[in-house]
């Protein structure tokens, strides 16, 4: 169906964008951004795409320019990482509330300080309440596939929201691995042209973007945004079903790995899910019924769907590659454990903070988590629910 190749996660996303050929890409061209704008600038300079590449002086400006371009009616993309996303903070909410389906390709890296360039999810988790759709990837392949599906989801008339395509900094962004890429014309046909109903440059139907809303209207606008985000779940599955037709690869809102009869489950986001699958295979060989749930969509959060997949497990470890500073656990832990409560799940649940600032996650690290779950079930004592994995001086916080 596709062509076998090898590339890094950054190259994979850049190539998906080359195939999509968006109209405009404003981006801050140097650190903390990624190689993705660099690849895109090269494609533009070499005439491979006719994207207008706008090098701006900051991420606040790259998101502002993206908002302007998308509002004008142009299919727009930007890229950033780490503190670059933090610098977009105010504008993220404006993109979402103006219902602008632009795309941001994010490479997840830690926020300062201490200063650290490596992978964790603190950057995008900080933006989780901004009203954006958020998708995460385990591999370069998934980052590529998510990028190709992005505009179909974001631009859908029942959605019209910005979309963040996330992948793990260095672990997938800089690792060269096998990948299967689609033909250019197949991607172009799948993504289609962008034809918004209303846009600023349409002089036949003048409109305002970003007006003031008094208290009598603001709340309804927010509710509409929330409903649009809810619609993502249906639209994303429709788009995934179509994508399977052209790619042979199947995607859901999340992935279940060996969950059919699992008694112990790890819920995890990103590249560490692959490592967790290897851990599960080892445990299954020993007769231990372990499984993995890998989050693909974190926003919207598929609470009911995930808890349905967990209904027979005895214990769950929710894995956060982000310290939420709630003194209670991380952001995925908060969403997961409240979802489990609402679903009346009768399973033990603990929340681990892991992999901060690029702390390596080994198969053995995940085995340690499963061993803790078995211990909880066998003793009936859950102990500390807010834990740290792989800390140097002590095992549990």
């Amino acid at each position: 169906m596709g062509k076998k190749d090898r590339m890094s996660g950054n190259e994979a996303v850049a190539n998906a964008l080359r195939q999509i050929n968006p109209d405009v890409m404003p981006a801050f061209p140097i650190t903390p951004s990624t190689e993705i704008p660099q690849f895109m600038a090269t494609f533009a300079a070499n005439g491979l795409i006719d994207t207008e590449f706008i090098p701006v002086e900051s991420e606040h400006s790259s998101m502002s320019a993206s908002i302007g371009a998308e509002a004008a009616g142009a299919r727009t993309v930007t890229a950033t990482s780490s503190c670059g996303l933090a610098f977009m903070w105010e504008e993220l909410f404006i993109a979402a509330s103006n219902r602008l389906p632009l795309a941001l390709t994010l490479v997840n890296r830690a926020l300062s300080g201490p200063i650290n360039i490596n992978c964790d999810h603190s950057d995008s988790m900080g933006a989780r309440d901004a009203g954006w759709i958020q998708l995460y990837a385990e591999t370069n392949q998934e980052a590529y596939d998510n990028m190709i599906m992005a505009y179909r989801i974001a631009e859908h008339k029942d959605v019209r929201l910005p979309i963040m395509i996330c992948q793990d900094g260095f672990i997938t962004s800089h690792a060269v691995m096998n990948i299967e890429v689609l033909e250019d014309d197949v991607v172009k046909k799948f993504v289609g042209d962008y034809a918004p109903d209303d846009y600023l440059l349409n002089k036949e139907r003048p409109m305002a973007v970003g007006p003031y809303a008094v208290s009598g209207f603001y709340m309804e606008a927010k509710r509409q945004q929330a409903e649009a985000l809810r619609n993502v779940k249906r639209v994303a599955l429709e788009v995934a079903a179509e994508y399977e037709q052209i790619s042979g690869r199947k995607y859901g809102l999340f992935e279940e790995y060996r969950m059919e009869d699992a008694e112990y489950a790890v819920v995890i986001i990103g590249s560490a899910a692959g490592t967790a699958k290897d851990a599960v295979d080892r445990l299954r060989d020993e007769g231990i019924k372990a499984g993995v749930i890998k989050i693909r969509f974190f926003r919207p959060f598929p609470a009911a769907e995930i808890t349905a997949a967990l209904k027979n497990v005895k214990a769950v470890a929710v894995m956060d590659r982000c310290e939420g500073f709630s003194d209670h656990g991380g952001p995925l832990g908060a969403d997961m454990i409240s979802a489990m409560y609402q679903a009346n799940l009768n399973a033990y649940a603990v929340n681990y903070i892991y992999g901060l600032g690029g702390r390596d996650v080994k198969v053995e690290s995940i085995l340690e988590v499963f061993a803790a779950l078995q211990e909880i079930v066998s003793t009936g004592k859950v102990g500390e629910t807010y834990r740290y994995l792989g800390l140097r001086d002590r095992k549990d916080a």
């Binding site: 190749d5 090898r6 360039i117 490596n118 793990d168 260095f170 672990i171 997938t172 800089h174 690792a175 060269v176 691995m177 096998n178 590249s271 560490a272 692959g274 490592t275 699958k277 290897d278 690029g358 390596d360 996650v361 080994k362 198969v363 690290s365």
Partner: protein, 190 residues
């Protein structure tokens, strides 16, 4: 071949250890195998010790951690022996491949009496003879392919020629020297 071959590269920033790991990924990919090539990033600067990794397998590679029990360790700069624990986790039946001008006895002594498999490559001599400059990564890449046996030598040479033609499209004069460096290294290893 084993289920999975794991390689750890030790070099210094600027010497091309990361490039060598990624080139190895590139050429091995062409054999149809699953590959992974990635660097470990620290506070990078020229001359600082760096690590890069390769996994090669007939099956899909899902694990994303660094490599702690490598089958092969490749040391691009022998001055690292005083700085990094290059033998850490090296499998008992694994091998150490080192760029050095020293005698085997001297290298083993520097490795704290290491008794395992050892391959020594004089990448400086080969590089100076073929390229006129010291670029250790080309010979070390050839050594990696020869010693690990991950692919056929002729297939490797033709894949590399293609890769160099692409990489050095603007300075084709360096292609021949690089190809010579590869061949000379392959011949130098028994």
């Amino acid at each position: 071949m084993k289920d999975m071959i794991e390689i750890r590269w030790h070099g210094r920033g600027g010497q091309g250890a990361k490039t060598a790991a990624l080139l190895l990924t590139d050429v091995v990919f062409q054999t149809g195998k699953y590959v992974q090539g990635f660097p470990e990033y620290g506070p990078e600067r020229m001359g600082a010790p760096i690590t890069a990794y390769n996994r090669i397998s007939d099956r899909e590679i899902r694990v994303h951690s660094n490599i702690y029990e490598p089958d092969y360790v490749i040391v691009v700069d022998s001055s690292l022996l005083h700085v990094a624990d290059v033998l850490a986790g090296l499998k008992e039946d694994g091998a150490l491949i080192i760029n050095t001008e020293d005698s085997e006895e001297e290298v083993r002594r520097q490795l704290g009496g290491y008794q395992g498999r050892l391959y020594m490559v004089d990448a400086k001599k080969i590089s100076l003879a073929t390229l006129g400059k010291y670029f250790p990564n080309t010979p070390m890449l050839a050594a990696a392919v020869k010693i690990t046996g991950v692919m056929d030598e002729a297939e490797f040479l033709s894949a590399m020629e293609e890769s160099f033609q692409h990489k050095f499209a603007k300075k084709p004069e360096v292609i021949e020297g690089n190809m010579k460096a590869l061949r000379m290294t392959l011949e130098s290893i028994q």
